[in-house]
């Protein structure tokens, strides 16, 4: 029986985590999870996925995890409820993460599962696929059928997926549909002994995107028509999306010879009046730093995505870390302004990328979008984009009539922003200079000019701060009279938000604020928040406490630091535990 009739309604768990593990040589370990996720999302369920890639190019252990519920899910979850083990390694590696009362579904020919605290469903995946279907490559689709039957996902949605995927391969489509049906039917022979079962969904159409998908979509919407990048994990998918999409829009995507060239080319394109972006990770970002100064000095707008990964040096390329913050905030020689934005979720990646372009254009300076590996590669359910929040801004240009011969590209204005002429649109050329320069762009190394021009460039940050020191850029939530305040940044938001919700339910007075802009800091929002709480906790995925350091330098606050550097995301349980520790030592 597939219905969990042996459990009462209130015991059914309809928010749970499924982890699928196996050697990639088996094939389809990751796609099993992806297909299950897509089918569930189409029915209106909310999903949050996380995956871990092997370091090997081919073969090696990979795993995929999806948390699924009929209400919004903000984090990957604390532990695993259901483990699907394609092989022994998967069982050995992940069974420790299983909850008590969790479920293991495993290939009974390949896995020797320990006995005891878990519900076991032993199914000889590969043998069934080989002997009963004559199609060993259908093993993963068979497992998909098993999952649908056991956890209440209507098999029709999976059938649609299989049909779409193999629409040009009739023979494979038929075989895979058979494998799916076979797996689904097989569950009727199983007596369901666990409590995990999907509830009813709202059937609202939503999107399932990765952070990298969302950044590419946001960039295209913002009007980005030039992209240059060098392949690097975990940012490469942005390059791939832009290579596929830009030619359709009259734009150009260049795979550069190195990261210095990538940012150089973006600066060149933007000088030509075309919005440009590059995407990289820590090592590439390090190489780009000199060009970051050029963008700021010449006041040429550019957007740079840094999908952070674990460093230093080559570090752990497929693992997450929030350890490029210092580099983003302070990297580079000389004094120059830059904007640093850190999206907090997949949905945020879409919106903040559009805002990144808008700010770059409006204030004519580099904008760094600090994503990280967990955001790049996770997929998350998001609502259809709201166009009213996605207005696009373009740089201010001089007019031939008004500016003419007297045009001064770097005119000293109150806002620091001066109109920028574009070749062959504006008829009075100027040189964009890496050298210090006067208002017309002519070389001038006098102390007065350097002071005035440095101030002009930094003055623009005041304008940025004015429009970003808002609750939208730094949302606060939680208890209005909180004792403990959490300040987070970037991809940790979901885990922090869930931890706060759980703490509030337990009666703790906690609140959190999660700024999306880190330079300039939304100071009013942060000062109000800090003043409203007794103590501040800053969880971040780096060793040095880079954000805590930044806050201490700007806001005279000494936060309690909570650092995690193992390469895996914070769970809400970890944050809750730390929060309880801190509060019990009040």
């Amino acid at each position: 029986m597939t219905q969990p009739k042996s459990f009462k309604e209130d015991q059914v768990r309809n928010d749970f985590v499924i982890r699928i593990g196996g050697d990639t040589a088996i094939g389809g370990v990751i796609s099993t999870g992806e297909n299950f996720t897509t089918a569930a999302a189409r029915l209106g369920f909310h999903v949050f996925t996380f995956r871990s890639y092997p370091a090997e190019i081919k073969g090696g252990h990979a795993w995929f995890q999806v948390r699924i519920a009929n209400r919004p899910v903000l984090s990957l979850g604390d532990s695993v409820d259901v483990l699907i083990a394609f092989d022994q390694e998967a069982y050995d590696k992940h069974s420790d993460d299983l909850q008590e009362g969790g479920v293991v579904i495993y290939d009974s020919d390949l896995v020797h599962a320990g006995d005891g605290k878990f519900t076991h469903y032993a199914v000889p995946f590969q043998r069934i696929a080989r002997q009963e279907l004559g199609f060993v490559r259908g093993t993963n689709v068979l497992v998909l059928g098993l999952m649908a039957g056991l956890f209440g996902l209507p098999v029709t949605s999976l059938k649609q997926l299989v049909r779409r995927r193999y629409k040009r391969r009739a023979d494979l489509m038929e075989k895979n549909l058979q494998a799916l049906a076979h797996g689904y039917e097989y569950t009727k022979r199983i007596r369901k002994e666990d409590k995990y079962y999907l509830g009813t969904s709202d059937h609202i159409r939503r999107l399932v995107m990765s952070g990298n998908d969302a950044i590419a979509a946001g960039a295209l919407h913002a009007g980005c028509r030039f992209f240059a990048g060098y392949p690097i994990t975990p940012a490469s998918e942005i390059l791939e999306s832009m290579a596929r999409e830009l030619p359709k829009l009259g734009g150009v995507c260049l795979q550069s010879e190195d990261e210095m060239a990538a940012l150089s080319s973006c600066i060149g394109a933007s000088y030509g009046g075309v919005k440009a972006m590059t995407a990289t990770s820590g090592p590439g970002f390090s190489l780009m730093i000199e060009l970051l100064g050029l963008s700021s000095m010449t006041e040429i707008p550019v957007v740079l995505v840094d999908a952070q990964r674990s460093g230093p040096s080559t570090g752990m390329p497929t693992k997450l870390e929030q350890s490029d913050l210092f580099q983003a905030l302070y990297g580079g020689h000389g004094d120059f302004p830059r904007i640093v934005i850190a999206p907090a979720s997949v949905e945020d990646c879409l919106y903040r990328t559009v805002y990144a372009f808008n700010l770059a254009e409006k204030y004519q300076m580099p904008v760094i979008l600090l994503s990280d590996q967990s955001l790049s590669h996770r997929t998350q359910t998001i609502d259809m984009p709201d166009r009213s929040h996605l207005k696009v801004v373009n740089r201010i240009q001089p007019s031939d009539g008004r500016h003419g011969e007297e045009y001064a590209r770097y005119a000293l204005t109150n806002t620091g922003v001066s109109p920028v002429g574009i070749p062959d649109i504006f008829l009075h050329p100027f040189v964009a200079p890496g050298l210090e320069h006067d208002e017309r762009g002519h070389t001038d190394l006098s102390p007065q000019v350097h002071e005035a021009m440095t101030e002009k460039r930094f003055r623009k940050l005041a304008g940025v701060a004015k429009e970003t020191d808002t609750p939208d850029w730094a949302p606060r939530y939680g208890h209005p009279r909180a004792e403990l305040g959490i300040i987070g940044w970037g991809a940790t938001e979901g885990s922090i938000r869930e931890a706060v919700d759980r703490a509030l339910a337990k009666g703790y007075k906690v609140a959190a604020i999660h700024p999306r802009i880190l330079n300039p800091l939304p100071e009013t929002q942060l000062r109000q928040f800090i003043a409203s709480v007794r103590r501040v906790l800053v969880p971040e995925a780096n060793y040095q406490g880079q954000f805590a350091h930044h806050l201490a330098a700007h806001l005279e606050v000494q936060p309690i630091r909570f650092n995690k550097i193992g390469g895996l995301p914070f769970t809400s349980g970890e944050i809750l535990q730390r929060l309880e520790e801190v509060m019990s030592h009040a």
Partner: protein
């Protein structure tokens, strides 16, 4: 009509402020900014040749962008009336590449010295040659780091004594013409600053050439490595009859040490990157977020 970011056609057709096309002379391309170069520096002649070539081509100053790196020669954009971008050491080529790919309607130069193009930015040359982006690259080679006061450069000859090589240069000098020929550049030429008229012709031919063009210019430094006498005695114009389509012959010529040949070594017609990159799709569409995201449902 090449694409412009504002969707309009040429600026020259909608203004009376620009001089009539036939009236452009070399003077119209020289700005009032006085060059910082030392008396006798070869770069003065390169500047004049640039202005003369642009006047010959009758291209409007606002349709030209000169991108440069860092070094004495890279100051050149300030001394012209065109658009310019004085960038980062070694990055003139990738900056110019991005600009030309985004704005194929513009005339784009990448200028630099031997330090820029043979040393710190040498890694970009093979790629721009292979891509065949329609940029004119003029390398002003004085075989020395002039701006930093005379250290040896990758094109300094073996044995060359300088402040950074007091015992003499050990490394073999880079051969810019040979390198760019082997990288697949579709136009390779050599000029000499003491022959400015010929150089202006080379620059004009390079701009007319569809695709990446590279001009190696011997532009001596009177201050730290005066090679005028040396080159005066070695240079020789390529004969009219020289077959520019013969790559092995061009390579052989580039290997010759007895003479320093001037002229167009090699030229071929090959697909141009920014043109090809715009032919992947038959028609250009506008972006609609709502329809784009359907793939994620």
């Amino acid at each position: 009509m090449p694409s412009r970011p504002d969707g309009t056609t040429s600026a020259t057709t909608r203004t009376s402020a620009a001089p009539a096309e036939s009236s452009l002379t070399a003077k119209d391309f020289k700005s009032e900014v006085k060059p910082i170069w030392c008396p006798g520096c070869g770069d003065f002649a390169v500047l004049s040749s640039m202005a003369k070539a642009l006047a010959t081509l009758q291209v409007m100053p606002h349709q030209v962008v000169i991108v440069s790196g860092i070094g004495c020669s890279s100051r050149l954009p300030y001394f012209m009336t065109t658009y310019g971008l004085h960038g980062v050491h070694g990055r003139a080529i990738p900056i110019a590449s991005g600009l030309k790919l985004a704005r194929p309607d513009l005339t784009v130069f990448a200028m630099g010295g031997d330090g820029d193009l043979m040393s710190i930015g040498a890694g970009h040359l093979p790629h721009v040659c292979a891509r065949n982006i329609d940029i004119t690259c003029v390398m002003m080679d004085n075989q020395v780091y002039g701006l930093t006061k005379g250290q040896a450069s990758p094109t300094s000859p073996i044995g060359h004594q300088s402040k950074s090589t007091p015992y003499g240069m050990i490394a073999k000098a880079a051969n810019p013409v040979l390198l760019t020929l082997s990288y697949g550049a579709s136009f390779v030429a050599r000029g000499y600053s003491a022959r400015p008229n010929e150089l202006a012709d080379l620059i004009a031919a390079a701009v007319r050439h569809p695709g990446f063009s590279f001009i190696h210019v011997h532009s001596p430094c009177t201050e730290f490595f005066n090679t005028y006498d040396h080159y005066d005695s070695l240079v020789e114009e390529l004969p009219e009859s020289w077959d520019r389509s013969n790559l092995p012959a061009a390579i052989n010529l580039a290997l010759t040490e007895e003479k320093v040949h001037l002229g167009i070594f090699y030229q071929e017609q090959r697909p141009v990157y920014e043109v090809e990159a715009r032919q992947f799709e038959k028609e250009v569409r506008s972006f609609h977020l709502a329809s784009y995201v359907q793939r994620f449902t």
